[in-house]
Amino acid sequence: MVDNSHNQELEDLREAARPCFQCGICASSCPVFRVAPEMNPRMSVDSIITDGQVPAEGNEWLCAYCLMCEERCPMGVSLTEILMGIRNISSKEGKAPPDFVESAEALLARGCLSPTSNRSVKKRVDLGLPDLPQPDPEHVKLIFEVTGAYEVLEANRVAVKEEAE
């Protein structure tokens, strides 16, 4: 699947990463790097700048999105936006991990990620909590349709299937 919009997206990411001078403060502030050094935000940025491509290992999916790297970067590089950008590109290529795809499926099916169950409803009743008004499912579908989420989901569903075969 060739999609030229990736080139523009990569160019934008490269621009966002340009001020980086590879000091490593992001990595040394990263809680995930502390326990799993294969996740290294500095390397993700480096790969965008020097190779002009998203890192092949897919470690960016290990980012906990705590925003520590970005807060501390002395050059004001928005690392989480870059990591999100990388994830957006690899999602379109069907490389999103299953749990991310599951979350999107849940959002599509119910409008929320944390599902209600008989037990959770009973808890609300027992505590005297109100029934929360539910969103119109058509609104949810419409957003998925118009923002391209269906295609991204489909790309990843196909990838999951191929993997299984």
Binding site: L127, H139, A149
Partner: protein
């Protein structure tokens, strides 16, 4: 004061007692809550990773619902707060984003204008109501030692969220002091709890939690105080799994701040809040800590 209340799916479906505690305390400060047909915020990590456009449009719809009622939004989860606030920032600073979102919202009879602000219960209590007013409502001080964890998604990015100092947060500690608690400093106070990678790589997630909690137990607290249902669940349930994986011995009770506030204010039925806590704590007896009538204290 009236707000559109945004408990978020995690709190509404998994941490109902925390939601209850928010709903219990706000009327005491003259705040009224309205429930609207919100979707998931959506969760800042998962959905945004797949598609920025989808993420920002869901958030725009949620905010537009509150705008249609002329209400500001009150969030209770750090993740929801961050997601909605960052999306609002995108929509308010990038006109093309807003235009695109509004084209979609038009089909639902909604419009994003940028008129509603978004505040978290943390900000309602500290910035709007204030520590002194809270302190004055306390009838049952709680003399316990606590470590606070404000949560990544309330602290960063500081320049957009502006809840507290991202490196040296003090406001939740001050809110705890107002209830008679003793908040302790600890090394990794602004570190993440690890929740963000739990589903992708649970071992890594619990390794992060182990680092975080190791730093907490070094100062020997009686409990952890948080302002986010996801952090709550990570600490409370995660410590057992961490114990199994790494042979640690964590056993710290966890509280969502407003639970303690409700107890300290002497509100009725707070036992129902604590019934579902998995790690129990013996809070000092009411009669032991009850504030003396100040007039009876000789000066």
């Amino acid at each position: 004061m009236k707000y559109a209340f945004f408990p978020g799916c995690t709190m509404a479906n998994r941490l109902q007692f925390a939601e209850k505690s928010v709903r219990m305390i706000v009327p005491e400060f003259g705040v009224e809550l309205v429930d609207l047909a919100f979707t998931c915020c959506p969760e800042p990590n998962a959905v945004r990773s797949l598609s920025e456009d989808t993420w920002v449009t869901f958030a725009a719809r949620n905010i537009a619902l509150a705008e249609a009622e002329n209400l500001d939004i009150l969030t209770a989860c750090a993740g929801c707060h961050e997601s909605l606030t960052l999306a609002k920032h995108e929509l308010d600073t990038k006109p093309e984003r807003k235009e695109k979102a509004n084209e979609i919202l038009k089909g639902m009879g909604l419009e994003y204008k940028g008129t509603s602000s978004i505040i978290h219960v943390h900000q309602l209590l500290f910035d709007e109501i204030g520590v002194e007013t809270i302190s004055a409502k306390v009838v049952r001080p709680l003399p316990i030692k606590v470590v606070t964890h404000s949560g990544c998604h309330l602290l960063r990015p500081q320049k957009i969220l502006q809840v507290d100092d991202a490196e040296v947060p003090v406001k939740l500690d001050m809110l705890c002091e107002a209830l008679g608690m003793d908040p302790l400093e600890y090394m990794d106070k602004v570190m993440c709890c690890g929740a963000g990678v739990r589903k992708t790589d649970s071992d890594t997630s619990y390794a992060v939690l182990k680092e975080k909690m190791t730093s907490m137990v070094m100062v020997e607290p009686d409990a952890i105080v948080v302002f986010c249902p996801t952090c709550f669940i990570t600490f409370e349930s995660g410590q057992r799994i961490t114990n199994r994986l790494f042979k640690t011995e964590f056993k710290l009770p966890v509280f969502y701040y407003t639970e303690l506030l409700a107890i300290a204010m002497g509100l009725p039925d707070t036992d129902a809040l604590l019934a579902d806590h998995r790690v129990k704590i013996e809070l000092p007896e009411f009669s032991d800590t009850k504030k003396e009538d100040s007039e009876s204290i000789p000066t």
